[in-house]
Amino acid sequence: MNSSWFEEAVGVARKEWTAELRDTSALMTSLVLSLGTVFTLALAFYGRRAEPPAAAGMLWVALLFAGVSSLTRTFVAEDEQGTGDLLRLWSRPSVVFWGKAVYAFALMSVVATVVTLSFIMFMSLPVAVPAMLFFSLAGGVAALSGTVTLTSSIISRGANRSNLSGVVSLPLLLPLLALGVAAGRSAIEGSRIAEGWQACAGTWLYTLVVFAVAPHLFAAIWREP
């Protein structure tokens, strides 16, 4: 990949950020929704300590829903407001995919940070191996960004796309959820460390596979050859 390719992809990502920061309502909605989800989950426990498996599971469910609801916008909003064709005319498919995915990763990192920190705070959750939690979440966020970017591009021109993106993304993400929960549980309770790191590596393997496959699929469907 040459430098102009890189600049173009950065151009797409920067366009997304600029537009996002000028109209912060969407970003704020995502953050408030994520906080609301975490608070609702915490409220169900009302001060009682959650078992590590349950805590890890709830954290990932909150991340998954926050991610799917906010990342879907990357392509769905583009075709909803009618600007998708501009990108189809102006850019190479791989540039669009990577630009959007980088933006999705940045957005999701913000959301995941807020979700995780507020979750740990509300649930008074001691984390035995913070590094493991961090790396598994980072891998999960990357895989989530790539997957949802791809699925939302697949359905961005379909009917009922906003609801549909959840339906088509979630089953794809369930294996990731299983890996993330396994790593999260080990990280929180500090037991079965080796298994935890394996699951953590699994989230990164998932990311690797997603980003190896997704740009090619995207190029095949994004515009006419």
């Binding site: 697949i154 359905i155 021109r157 088509v168 089953p171 794809l172 294996p175 469907i221």
Partner: protein, 249 residues
């Protein structure tokens, strides 16, 4: 393979006959040993072939979808859609027999058995595939989106069917007998039963699959050929053709 509609009738009747014979055999198999309800364990003979068949057709569907994305020929889209439909039917068959078996033999409808859980996600992915199809009414856009989604689902499907149930820490939680099928711990009657049913089910589902493809091709042909029909006075009945006018210079 694509023609011979007259010849198709004989294999069809043979297939029916074989299914009848298999049904009799199904009840002739002696009750399995080592189950809570040995008489009712026979559902395995149907459950296993459904699961195998579903796997075969899920893989075929992803392969056909990939072929569509590469070749952009409509026939691959018809094949992918038909294979997905057949695999959905088989998946529902697997799930239903599995849940029945689970209740009767293990005491609960749902046991969070890794294989059962993994298969439910496969079922969700298949359902999502059809949701994608339903969201598009324009045929090419539908074909492309569905094909892309089908290829995306291949990786989780492979993971869920082949890797996840065998993972250390997961496999020992399974109530499914370990490697009974591979290591041949089935009694000879059972082995003959599930292999025979598997062969029959493959034939039967291939028949369904071929019909599905044929119908799609005929529907397509019907839509594409209407403009070429000639009326008795030799004109074409379709008024929606393009007419260039007043070409200046």
């Amino acid at each position: 393979m694509n023609n011979g509609s007259g010849l198709l009738h004989i294999p069809k009747w043979l297939l029916m006959l074989a299914i009848a014979a298999m049904t009799v055999f199904y009840f002739a198999v002696p009750p399995a040993v080592g189950f809570m309800e040995p008489e009712l364990a026979r559902v395995v003979l149907f459950h296993l072939p459904c699961a195998f068949g579903c796997t075969v057709y899920v893989l075929l569907a992803a392969g056909f979808s990939l072929a569509y994305l590469v070749k952009k020929e409509t026939i691959w889209e018809h094949r992918a859609a038909a294979a997905s439909a057949v695999s959905l039917v088989l998946a529902i068959g697997t799930m239903t027999t599995g849940i029945l078996f689970s209740k009767v033999q293990w005491g609960e409808w749902w046991h969070w058995d890794p294989k059962q859980t993994a298969f439910l996600i496969v079922l969700l992915l298949l359902a999502a595939y059809f949701m994608v199809r339903m969201a598009f009414d324009e045929t090419v856009a539908k074909a492309r989106a569905a094909a892309a989604y089908s290829v995306v689902t291949l990786l989780p499907v492979l993971f869920l069917i082949f890797v996840f149930p065998r993972l250390p820490g997961v496999s020992e939680k399974s109530l499914h007998p370990q490697d009974t099928v591979q290591s041949g711990k089935f009694s000879p009657e059972y082995k003959a039963g599930y292999l025979g049913l598997f062969a029959l089910l493959l034939l039967f589902s291939t028949w369904l699959y071929r019909m599905h493809v044929k119908i799609a091709v005929l529907e397509e042909k019907d839509k594409f050929d209407d403009g070429n029909l000639e009326t008795s006075d030799g004109s074409t009945p379709s008024s929606r053709v393009v007419r260039p006018v007043s070409l200046r210079e």
